[in-house]
């Protein structure tokens, strides 16, 4: 009984049903757990691991330098940039905007740097549904290859104060 002390020696062999269940559970767990390292080498969707320290001021300067160099227009008062695929792309999170609007080319690989000016934010590309954390004082570098054209939106999905639900940015893939 689970509510009484067991007999003196309870280290006993398994019954057949226990053996079967333990074996199939272990087998399935083994499959599921080798998936992570195998997909890490074989697959193309993995959490990025390139990361640096950067102060908000430094990051802000990098964002502004990129806008000056690659600005192609404005939308809703926000600059639109079309960066060169060989150059790093910077997207800045702050309460409560994603800045600036970025145009990417389909099939090209970009290094997208994410950092926050103030508190933690969540970077969620919709409707493709890819999600990453954005922290102040850290730079998270996504090596991203957009494979479908269209208009995408960046929604904040980590609570960041009363304007959280208004924190929406935009991303084009052309």
């Amino acid at each position: 009984m689970a509510i009484k002390e067991p007999e003196r020696i309870w280290w006993k062999p398994y019954t057949r049903d226990e053996k079967i269940w333990v074996a199939v559970s272990l087998l399935w767990m083994f499959t599921s757990f080798v998936f992570m390292p195998v997909y890490h080498f074989a697959g193309s969707q993995n959490p990025p691991y390139e990361t640096y320290r950067v102060s908000p001021e430094e990051f802000d300067k990098l964002v502004e330098a990129m806008i000056e160099k690659y600005k192609v227009g404005e939308e809703n008062g926000m600059p639109v940039v079309h960066p060169d695929p060989d150059e790093p792309v910077f997207i800045r999170a702050s309460m409560w905007q994603w800045y600036p609007v970025v145009e990417l080319e389909k099939g090209k690989t970009y290094k997208i740097h994410l950092s926050s000016m103030d508190i933690q934010h969540g970077f969620s590309i919709l409707p493709i549904n890819m999600n990453f954390m954005v922290l102040p004082n850290y730079d998270y570098v996504l090596t991203l290859t957009p494979t479908t054209e269209g208009e995408y939106y960046i929604v904040c999905n980590e609570f960041c104060g009363m304007g959280h639900h208004m924190m929406v940015g935009k991303l084009y893939v052309k």
Binding site: R8, I9, W10, W11, T51, Y52, R53, V54, S55, E58, F59, K61, L62, A65, P88, H113, Y138, D139
Partner: protein
């Protein structure tokens, strides 16, 4: 392990694994040590090793 007093009365020895499972404080030690090392200490080591952004102005 303080086994003497059981051995007097009963003949069959208790399997070693059973003694291990009954030793709550040994389990306690491993239960604290494993996650602290593998998760916390390793994580902190990675945090202090993060480099500065090389292209920062």
């Amino acid at each position: 392990m303080t086994d003497e007093k059981h051995r007097e009365s009963e003949e069959e020895p208790i399997p070693a694994w059973q003694l291990f499972y009954d030793n709550i404080f040994l389990l306690f030690f491993f239960g604290i040590a494993i996650p602290t090392l593998v998760y916390t200490v390793w994580g902190l080591m990675e945090i202090v090793q993060i480099p500065q952004l090389p292209i920062a102005p």
